[in-house]
């Protein structure tokens, strides 16, 4: 008696979103018509992509373990981006404009624009630009950057339910991609996409950030919300079928389990490997749950996740090999 394993077919599929335009080498994500990584029964025209995070200032609280690969480049975003793309193999770069936050120096929108320009000049890969976080400053910084580098298909991170109009407008006007952020909540994720759609954003220009809980720190919430978002999308929900982005590095590298040394907790093993394992486990779980864009901090983590993805998608992007 042989098994009748029917491939699971779905009415919906994930939107294709192209990151980067103009002088960027564009990269498209999404398009899959099955559960994440279920390459044995569905078509995936594009594989998940991996980004590395660079910062506009010397990040005050990064651990030595994540500083070491960026020795001499922290706070030099263009140089760090070049190394990330050329040497570490990042598919794209996330420039974290943390220095624009009022508590971290409060760099001006114009200074932020200079950093963005330097990174755009240094690399050809698509660029995610992360603002200082919700509040008026976020809009000032990202709107300035969006206007100045129109046509580059920047990924602007991020708009939320309470504050979406400004960034929606500049995304439409200047041809960028907008990240819609929601607090680990399926319904709010959909609500933000509906609100964006109501102000005439084409959802082919939107990524959903479901908010990442790191391993041991809410990962299970993010994981299940992402699975539910993906199921809704495959079920045909046009307001939940944007590809998802997860900011893994920043969640992972602040938790107790990566900060404590082996000397303090001998049972926990080698601190550096443990930290990278933590980042890989978080990233991979979320890719299984549906992440299409994953932002990491440690280049070794990127190399390890990339190796799995390379083997997975070795037979070409479309893997319907049944």
């Amino acid at each position: 008696m042989s098994l009748k394993l029917q491939p699971k077919k779905w009415p919906g599929k994930i939107r294709e979103v192209t990151l980067g335009a103009g002088n960027r080498q564009p990269r498209t994500v999404g398009g899959g018509n099955g559960l994440p990584l279920h390459t044995f029964e569905a078509d995936f025209p594009h594989r998940p992509v991996l980004a590395l995070e660079v910062t506009d200032i010397n990040p005050p609280r990064w651990l030595d373990i994540v500083r070491e690969p960026w020795e001499g480049l922290l706070g030099k975003p263009a140089d760090a981006a070049r190394k990330a793309a050329e040497q570490y193999g990042a598919d794209l770069i996330m420039l974290n404009l943390m220095g624009t936050h009022p508590d971290r120096g409060g760099r001006s929108p114009d200074q932020a624009a200079i950093d963005v320009e330097a990174v755009l000049d240094a690399v050809r890969v698509p660029l995610i630009v992360k603002g200082p976080g919700a509040g008026a400053k976020q809009n000032d910084v990202l709107a300035r950057v969006a206007e100045k580098y129109h046509g580059e298909g920047l990924v602007l991170h991020s708009a939320c339910q309470e504050d979406y109009k400004t960034l929606a407008a500049v995304t439409v006007a200047y041809g960028h991609v907008l990240v819609s952020e929601s607090p680990i909540d399926l319904n709010i994720a959909k609500q933000v996409d509906i609100l964006l759609s109501d102000v005439n954003i084409n959802l082919d220009r939107v990524l959903i950030d479901p908010l990442t809980g790191g391993l041991g720190y809410g990962l299970e919430y993010t994981y299940s919300v992402m699975e539910r978002i993906r199921l809704a999308a495959l079920g045909g929900d046009q307001m939940l079928n944007s590809p998802m982005i997860c900011l893994v590095g920043e969640e992972v590298w602040k938790v107790k389990e990566v900060k404590v040394s082996e000397r303090q907790e001998p049972r926990w093993g080698d601190q550096e490997t443990r930290g990278i394992n933590w980042e890989v486990a978080t990233a991979w779980s979320l890719i299984e749950a549906g992440a299409e864009v994953v932002v990491l901090r440690h280049p070794d983590s990127l190399a390890r996740v990339r190796k799995i993805l390379d083997a997975w998608f070795a037979e070409g992007a479309s893997n319907n090999t049944r």
Binding site: E162, N187, Q191, I194, L195, D198
Partner: protein
Amino acid sequence: MISKHTVLTAQKHRIIFSPSGRSIVVTEGTSILEAARLASEPLPAECGGRGACGKCLALVLEGDVPEYRVIHRKEGLSEILACQTTVRGPLTVHALVESELPKLISCDQSIGMAPLEAWAPWPLKLDPPAHINSSEDLGVAVDIGTTTVRLLLIRLVDGVIVGEASAYNPQISWGADVISRIIAAEKGRLDDLAELIRRAISAMILETTTQATDDADLIRAYVVAGNLTMIHLLLGIDPSGIRRVPSEPAALAFEPVDASSLGWPGRGGVMVHTIPAIGGWVGGDIVSGILRIGLPRQSDGISLYVDLGTNGEIAVGGADFAMACACSAGPAFEGSGIRCGMRADQGAIDGAVIDMEKGTLELSIISGGAARGICGSGLISLADALFRAGWIDRIGHFTDKLPDPYRLDDKHGRALRLSQKKKIALWERDLAGLIRAKAAIFSGIRTLLDSLGIGAGDISRLVVSGNFGRFLNLPAAAGIGLLPDLPPEKYVYVDNGSLEGAALALLSKDFMLELESYLRKITYMNLSEVPSYMDEFVSASFLPHTYPEKLKG
């Protein structure tokens, strides 16, 4: 660390309230709201002092308050929330929000009606639970809501309503929601709370008997419906068990008590009956309401009953079974909890239409004249009209389409201007309150229906009750996603199911007996124990709904 001393020493300071001049000396660290309560200064705090309602906003005329508590500055003076601000030195403060002390509102909507003819769900014969001595004898039916109290005076010999009154529940100064009231009772205020409601009802009885006849002593019987907390507080019984998990109320049903023990009129042996409850959070008010709509005799189909009060109550069922739940909707539907809210009374905006072409807003106002405020049905109509016109987005924020003449920006945020002379307006946070309230109700409905495995389309009758006066704009209620979007013939509106059921119980012993026997068929569902309720709530917190298809039958 140098000034640790000042942090730790418990000094005392005098707080003076303006303009009343009341003052009190309190320990450093006491909140200004607490000081107001101690000084008997009527500073409203509907949220019970959680910094949520904004009603205890006050201006500091003299003295220093912590900088981080300053919300706004006006001509060099600081505005603070009294509940959030602690005393750190001598102060003089001035309350900014007009204190909404309970006021008595008379109305005559029902006078002359005979409940047994107008409201009885099946034929009932006049048979009050008290001996009638004279043709002048009276009975009183009361509904004690968390926000509103309503009362009917009924002539027992022919069952005709001769008087009617309604008022805000004066316990509101201890918080707008039942939890705050229970906590106040736990903190030794049980007697105060009991006294407040008993006296308020006494006053209402005096008011109505003056309308009808001069002799309150003709009253022969009382029937009171209300949620279980209100009944506990009325009877002076410790309500703390209600909020335990699981809920452990002192009792669900109470023996009748002598009216004189509550300080109510009635000569010798006049009894006050209360409608029994099903559970800590599903009280006699909903039992009264579902009997009023005749659930026990409904032979086929399923009815959905929704009581839109501060404590929203929902029941679904028929002759064989009913399932009921309660959800905390907040006081928005009763015209409270919003900045320019008021009861459905003269001067209240109770409807709105937007002319899309002209970009103008037309209001309907109860009894005409100038707008004094917005009542529950007005709030629902306004939200629906604004949403349809695109003046607000799906989370209740004003959009660029809001025409300039209607736009108002002030310290409370952005608002829709509703009156040029007096400052009547609808703020974004009022809309947020309404969206929360409607989401609580609709998600309760969905959760009940889902638990039974039925859809909105299986509902044969949807009965809506609430303190909306004569009018609730049902299409608008469905338009904002408060109620399922059903064909109009399926809707029934009942002004106040709880009060009307109490009136029927006052006039018919049979009705009360049937009520008591149906209790056994009612299943109580605790929404907080249903894992999907929060999800339903969040998805309903959107206009009209995150999944609009869920509104449809």
